[in-house]
């Protein structure tokens, strides 16, 4: 099988020519097997340079082309296009990098020339084994799936919907709004969270391009970029969304009261309830664990009073399949469970609360109508805020949760404003990195907040002095003073860190995305691609990617939307052809490869007992190729034959 290889050695002006004797390389190349012509030219990437290649392909009937010039990362696409225009498949081309990895690193002309010959020789030997490949293009479905209706998901959904594309917004809870709906004020501006959030929530409800699927989960997700199918499970509210007008009579009349999750258990809700008054959709849901009808078959007061006949106890779980081209995961976070850190007494001592519980006290619509109250109904005269609970801690999470310093200061401010109490903050470092954050810290200092540098070691009610009697004592080493202090206070607020949601692992599996060491979803690149994932077409945004504040969450939501829109507007996306292919005749069904694919591109055909690669999902890393003990998997354009040819050539070259 004789091939006709054309070898083109570029001078690159003097970039290559001043170190590498290009003529010598050309002469050497001409002696290699299968080489029909070897030429030298000043600037191969220029138009005349490319013409040389095209002319020779037609005139000499070349079947392979090698260009020895700069890095393939520079001009591989350029020359591939030239080869294709010359009438030869673009993958019958190989580049020999004799600039970045040869002339530019050498000090000795002889060695540089010898090295260039070795590199060119390897490329010439390799290209013989290369085969024509076709680039497959697939269309992109313009619909977008956004999972998670917190501020991040809302931002992403609105951006995309405003551009005219259809969004399916899936939210697990009965209402959108996420954690932000539970906050009182937001740092550093002390904006009322509900005031800035609820208008956006209403926009979502009213937007013609957004289909809101609340009280729903994603249970399945399959396909590939541009062509995904999501399986959505719609849980039954037992209230007909179409008929309900949000009058709230059912909730008013319901006889059953239980602790409210929205209020962190500090307040109550009914068995038929809306999580909070501005819920979107403004439709209640029946909690069948506590509803008298579901438990005993009695009551039905809500049915009696509903003016629209919207109550429907026969509602069933429903499954819906959605076709989308891209997905954005904005599923948020959970708070660290403070009861794990026993020394702070959460759950054991009265008046030790978490930051979120403080928010609910502080909130005008909360269980105390906006008053900060101790268990005994009185206002605290002193408050301690303990930073880094569950964060920066080798026993729990090593990372910093990013927002706690700022929200601790906000809490300090609110506590002071609402109760006039003396506020202590026990910190390790103050992280006030954002716009207006450092200024906010200064403001807190001016409000006479006492900042003690030392993570609290313990909260105890065991008084050692009269002054400590009846109080909670925070014990901490004040590292700036170098002494251990005991500070008696009325109320202790634990600044709990942000952790990945309990269902993050399951969701990651559904979408076949990876998670980082800490359990948050893994971005494609921490700096250059923070909202993409390794899977094309699936984006992540907000705290599900890592703890972050509202400005960054919104920014990421918008960024993910931009990424999705960019993909959609391309109308079609090209699939990289350097994928793995399994020869079913050779595959022995050993399944060694199945678990190795980071993209779940390999499936097993039980009837034929062979493994198969989905070439739309395959990214072409070659991991499975190297592992296959039958040698049944090959990677296009990186086959064993091609690589072995390069190895043989390099090993045989003289030094």
């Amino acid at each position: 099988m004789a091939e006709k290889i054309g070898v083109y050695v570029c001078d690159c002006g003097s970039n290559i020519a001043q170190m590498v004797n290009c003529k010598s390389v050309v002469d050497y190349a001409a002696t290699l097997p299968n080489v029909t012509v070897a030429r030298e030219y000043q600037y191969m990437c220029s138009d005349p340079g490319q013409e040389l290649i095209k002319k020779d392909i037609k005139g000499l009937g070349l079947t392979r082309v090698v260009v020895a010039s700069c890095s393939p990362l520079m001009h591989e696409l350029t020359f591939r296009r030239a080869v294709e225009e010359g009438g030869l498949n673009q993958f019958l081309f190989q580049m020999a990098n004799i600039r970045e990895q040869c002339s530019w690193i050498s000090e000795n002309k002889e060695m540089a020339t010898e090295r260039a010959k070795a590199i060119v020789g390897a490329a010439v030997k390799r290209v013989v084994f290369q085969e024509p490949l076709e680039v497959k293009k697939v269309p992109v479905n313009p619909n977008v799936l956004v999972v998670g209706g917190g501020i991040t998901g809302i931002e992403a959904a609105l951006q995309i919907a405003d551009s005219g594309k259809k969004v399916y917004l899936v939210e697990k809870e009965p209402t959108i709004g996420g954690y932000m709906a539970r906050f009182d004020k937001t740092f550093p501006t002390l904006d009322c969270a509900a005031c800035i959030l609820t208008p956006k929530m209403v926009n979502v409800a009213q937007h013609p391009n957004i289909e809101l699927l609340s009280y729903s989960d994603v249970t399945g997700f399959s396909g590939y970029v541009g062509n995904f199918t999501a399986r959505i499970r719609r849980r039954p509210r037992y209230v007909d969304e179409e008929k309900c007008n949000g009058c709230g009579l059912c909730t008013e009349k319901c006889p059953i009261s239980v602790p409210s999750e929205f209020e962190c258990g500090l307040g109550k809700r009914k068995a038929i309830y809306r999580p909070f008054p501005q819920a979107v959709p403004n439709v209640p849901v029946i909690d069948r664990e506590h509803c008298l009808f579901f438990m005993k078959g009695i009551c039905k007061v809500c049915v009696k009073f509903c003016p629209r006949g919207a109550i429907n106890f026969d509602q069933m779980e429903e499954y819906k399949d959605l076709d989308v081209g891209t997905a954005i995961l904005a599923t948020g976070f959970d708070l660290f469970d403070a009861s794990k850190v026993k020394q702070y007494g959460y759950g054991r001592l009265s008046n030790v609360i978490t930051s979120l519980e403080f928010e609910r006290f502080s909130h005008a619509s909360g269980p105390t109508g906006g008053k900060i109250l101790l268990k005994n109904g009185q206002m605290p005269a002193s408050v301690a805020i303990l930073h880094c609970i569950g964060s920066r801690d080798t026993n729990f999470n090593e990372y910093c949760s990013r927002v706690c310093c700022m929200y601790s200061m906000k809490i300090a401010h609110l506590a002071h404003e609402k109760t006039g109490a003396k506020v202590y903050e026990f910190y390790i470092d103050i992280r006030a990195f954002g716009k207006g954050y450092e200024e906010f810290y200064k403001r807190l200092l001016e409000e006479d907040t006492v900042f003690i540098r030392g993570k609290a070691a313990e909260v105890t009610d065991f008084a050692q002095t009269a002054a400590e009697k009846g109080k909670l004592i925070v014990v901490a080493e004040d590292t700036l003073l170098g002494i251990v202090r005991r500070i008696p206070v009325d109320l202790v607020v634990l600044s709990v860190g942000l952790v990945p949601r309990k269902d993050a692992a399951d969701l990651a599996r559904v979408f076949s995305i990876s998670r980082s060491q800490d359990g948050f979803f893994l971005e494609r690149h921490p700096k250059l691609a923070p909202v993409s994932t390794a899977s094309d077409g699936i984006f992540i945004a907000g705290s599900c990617q890592g703890p972050k504040d509202i400005p960054d969450s919104v920014a990421q939501g918008a960024a993910a939307a931009a990424n999705a829109l960019s993909l959609i507007d391309r109308k079609e996306v090209a699939l990289e052809p350097t994928v793995a292919v399994i020869d079913e005749e050779s595959c022995s069904g050993c399944k060694i490869c199945l678990g190795l694919c980071a993209f779940n591109a390999i499936t097993f055909d039980e009837s034929k007992r062979v493994s198969r690669v989905n070439d739309a999902l395959c990214k072409g890393c070659g991991v499975c190729v190297a592992a296959c003990p039958s040698g049944a998997i090959e990677q296009r354009n990186f086959t064993d034959d091609q690589l072995l040819a390069e190895v043989e050539s390099v090993c045989a070259s003289e030094r």
Partner: protein, 144 residues
């Protein structure tokens, strides 16, 4: 073992992953950093493509050493390709020990796309070490 020829130049085969190591090596060139040209690069998409068979082939075909360079753990463009590389490398090292091939001859290094300087140092270091170790000259028992 001393090398018999004083101007022995080690011939090292380098498998560089396109996303990190190869790009880092390019950066060394763009930055005009001078380093010994003893590692001839073979580009792969991921260090996870490097089959131990390729390493054995290199060693038995005349190479004095093999360098496998990929992305730092956690940064792999394909998420976990480099984890597979570590897994194979650790076991391969144990087997090469049995073959009597010095550990310095087959190395796994992490070089990110921004580490041109580091790539140059890795190559320089490995070249120097192999100069001292001497040629491998693996004739594979072709002697009788």
């Amino acid at each position: 073992m001393t090398n018999l020829t004083s101007n022995f130049e080690p011939n090292i085969v380098g498998f560089l992953c396109k996303w990190c190591a190869y790009t880092g090596a390019d950066l060394a060139g763009t930055s005009r950093i001078k380093y010994p040209p003893n590692v001839t690069p073979i580009r792969v998409m991921c260090s996870g493509r490097v089959d131990p068979v390729l390493v054995m082939k290199a060693l038995s075909s005349g190479a004095d050493g093999v360098l496998i360079a990929g992305c730092h753990p956690g940064d792999c463009h394909y998420t976990s390709g480099n984890v597979k590389t570590i897994r194979r490398f650790k076991l391969l090292q144990r087997m090469l020990d049995q073959f009597g091939i010095e550990r310095d001859r087959v190395r796994l290094e992490w070089v990110s796309a921004s580490e041109g300087e580091r790539y140059a140092q890795v190559v320089e270091n490995m070249t120097e070490t192999l100069r001292t170790l001497g040629p491998l000259n693996w004739n594979g028992g072709k002697e009788v």
